[in-house]
Structures are given as C-alpha cells and as structure tokens.
C-alpha cells in the first residue's frame, strides 16, 4: 500500500509540496496581516499583549516569506510544469495561467520587499517606512486572488473554508482600518511623536531592535 502510494506520488512530489507551501503561506500571511492590523489598531497597548502581537507579527511574516519561497522553488522540480527560474520569479512570463500566476509573483515580491524593509527602516525613515508598510495588505490581497485564480484546489470546499477562516479576521480589521482612514493622517504624527517621546525617555525599545 505504502509502496504503491509512494510510486504513484513520485512524479507529483514537488507539485504537492508547492501546493501545500502555498496554502500554508496564504494562512500565515493572513495571520500576519491580522496581527499587524491589531498592532496598529487604536487602543492596542504597546507593551504586554501589544508587544506579544508585535513578536507574533514578525514571526508570522518571516514564516510567510519562507513558505512563499518553498512554494516557488518547489515548482522548479515539477516534471509537468517544468518552469524556469524566470518563470517563477518574473511576473506574467510563465506558461501556466500567466495572469493569475503573475499576480501571485507580484504579491510574493511585494510581501518580501515590504516585509524585509522592516530591518532597514532606520535608513528608510520611520514615517516613510510606515506609509510603505501599509501596502502590504494590497500584496496580501493579490496573493489571495492568485490562490483563487491559479490554485489547483481553489474549488475544493476545505480550501475555501480554510481561506475564509484565516482571511476573514484580517479582512474585517482591514475594512475597519479603511473606514476610519480619513482620520489616520492626523493620527500618524501623534503616534510617531508619542513613540519618539517614549524612546527619548526609555532609550531604544528592545523589541524593535531585536
């Protein structure tokens, strides 16, 4: 039985791995975006649970990037698709559903660049980095559209259930954020100035330098 299963799965090993990594990336990205929106939500404490949410946000973001990398790289071994490095890294050039796959590649690059820019925010500038970091949600949405358009399991009930369960909280938080976004230009300077004041009082906050 196991032998039969292993021989039957042989040609599809990379393909299944890529699909599983894509599903994991989708769920992790939803969790990360949700945690990020929670951190920036009004009334969330900076310490205690707020600090934990920050650590969780960072860990989820890194896990998402790892899963996205596995999702793309595993496809290189697939015997049926046979994509090249360019196919999986340059949007809209691949042979398999180029539009939907291209959206996913754009989303993946966007998440990687905006996520990793966290470690270069001192050189980018805090306020500029914050305004750039907001676009992460857009790339996350691109990823979800990619999973629905190009995903092999997009019509499977369990996949749709997982998508709704993981993405719904983040979508609700994002909608709430967008609804009160007219007030955000006034809030942002306050948030920045309060953080600066805290840092001048206590020195650099360790969780950010970590």
């Amino acid at each position: 039985m196991i032998l039969a299963a292993s021989t039957s799965i042989g040609p599809h090993l990379f393909w299944i791995t890529s699909r599983a990594a894509g599903i994991a990336a989708m769920a992790l990205a939803s969790g990360s975006v949700g945690a990020g929106l929670l951190i920036s939500a009004r009334g969330t404490p900076r310490r205690g649970l707020g600090g934990d949410a920050r650590a969780l946000h960072e860990a989820l973001s890194l896990a998402t990037l790892g899963a996205i990398a596995v999702h793309g790289v595993a496809l290189l071994g697939d015997q049926w698709l046979h994509p090249s490095v360019f196919d999986i890294s340059i949007p809209f050039t691949g042979g398999y559903r180029p539009f939907w796959t291209g959206l996913g590649i754009v989303g993946g690059w966007g998440l990687a660049l905006l996520g990793l820019s966290y470690y270069a925010r001192t050189s980018i500038g805090q306020s500029r980095w914050r305004s750039l970091h907001r676009f992460t949600a857009l790339f996350w949405l691109l990823g979800i559209v990619h999973s629905l358009g190009a995903g092999t399991d997009a019509e499977q009930p369990w996949f749709l259930l997982a998508l709704v369960l993981t993405a719904a909280p983040a979508v609700v938080l994002l909608a709430g954020r967008l609804v009160r976004s007219p007030a955000s230009p006034a809030e942002a300077p306050v948030a920045v100035s309060s953080r600066m004041a805290r840092e001048t009082r206590h020195g650099p906050v360790p969780e950010r330098s970590a």
Binding site: D52, A55, A59, A63, G66, A67, P206
Partner: protein, 141 residues
C-alpha cells in the same frame, strides 16, 4: 541606600528584559512549529486526495482523457457495430475481390451494393464447406 536601590532597579530591569526575550523566543518557536504543522497538514490532505484518486487536477485530466476516449469510441462504433465480429469483418475486405471474380455470372451488379455484407461470408464459405456437410450429418445422426 541609593546604590542598593539602583542595583535592585537594574536587577529588575534585567529580569524584565530576560523575561521578555524568553517570551519572544517562545512566540517565535511556537509560530515556527505552527507553520510547519500547517504545512504538514496541507501536505497530508493533498497526499490523501492524490492517493484516493480525488485530486482535482488529476481527476479533471483523467475525466478529459476518458471523455476523449469515449468520443473516439462513439465515432468508431457506428462503423464496427453492424459487422459485430472481426471474423465477419475480414471477409468484407476480401470478398469484393472474390465477388468480382465470381460475378462473371452476369446478374449481380444491382444486388451487389445491397447485399454485400450479409451474403458475402456465405459466398466465401460456400465453396469450402461443400466437403464438410457430410461429417455434420454423420455427427448429428
């Protein structure tokens, strides 16, 4: 006294920092374990789908293959069905030649088109079975 208080405050601060680092590292560890578990779960679901033959892409491909094969059969069947067996098919190809040889008998030209499939085998077997009928009668008797 001030020194003692300072030392206590420093100790407290260090303890807090240590506790925070521990908490952050435990969050990271749990997140990594959760991510790996999620990946393994998704992989197991996809594996089960594949092994049970319910994989969406493969079942779609196989159903397309079946449909194509079925349509090919339906195109072929109308030709092969009336003949029923390959034994009868062969004579069809062979008989016309014999007919042409036999039809020297003059009358057939009009009937040839209507009756070739049914009559030909008989015509083909007709010359050979002549010696056979005798044994058939003997066996039945």
């Amino acid at each position: 006294m001030d020194d003692l208080k300072r030392l206590e405050a420093k100790g407290l601060a260090r303890a807090k920092i240590r506790a925070k680092r521990r908490r952050v590292s435990s969050i990271r560890g749990r997140t990594i374990r959760g991510a790996l578990g999620l990946f393994a779960l998704a992989w197991a679901i996809l594996f089960a789908q594949l092994v049970s033959g319910n994989d969406p892409a493969l079942s779609r491909a196989s159903s397309v293959r079946k449909a194509v094969a079925a349509s090919q059969r339906t195109h072929e069947r109308p030709r092969s069905q009336p003949v029923e067996s390959p034994e009868v098919e062969e004579p069809e190809a062979v008989v016309p030649i014999e007919e042409e040889a036999v039809p020297v008998e003059e009358e057939v030209p009009l009937e040839e088109e209507a009756a070739p499939e049914v009559e030909e085998p008989e015509a083909e077997f007709a010359p050979e079975p002549e010696p056979e009928p005798a044994p058939v009668i003997t066996s039945s008797s």
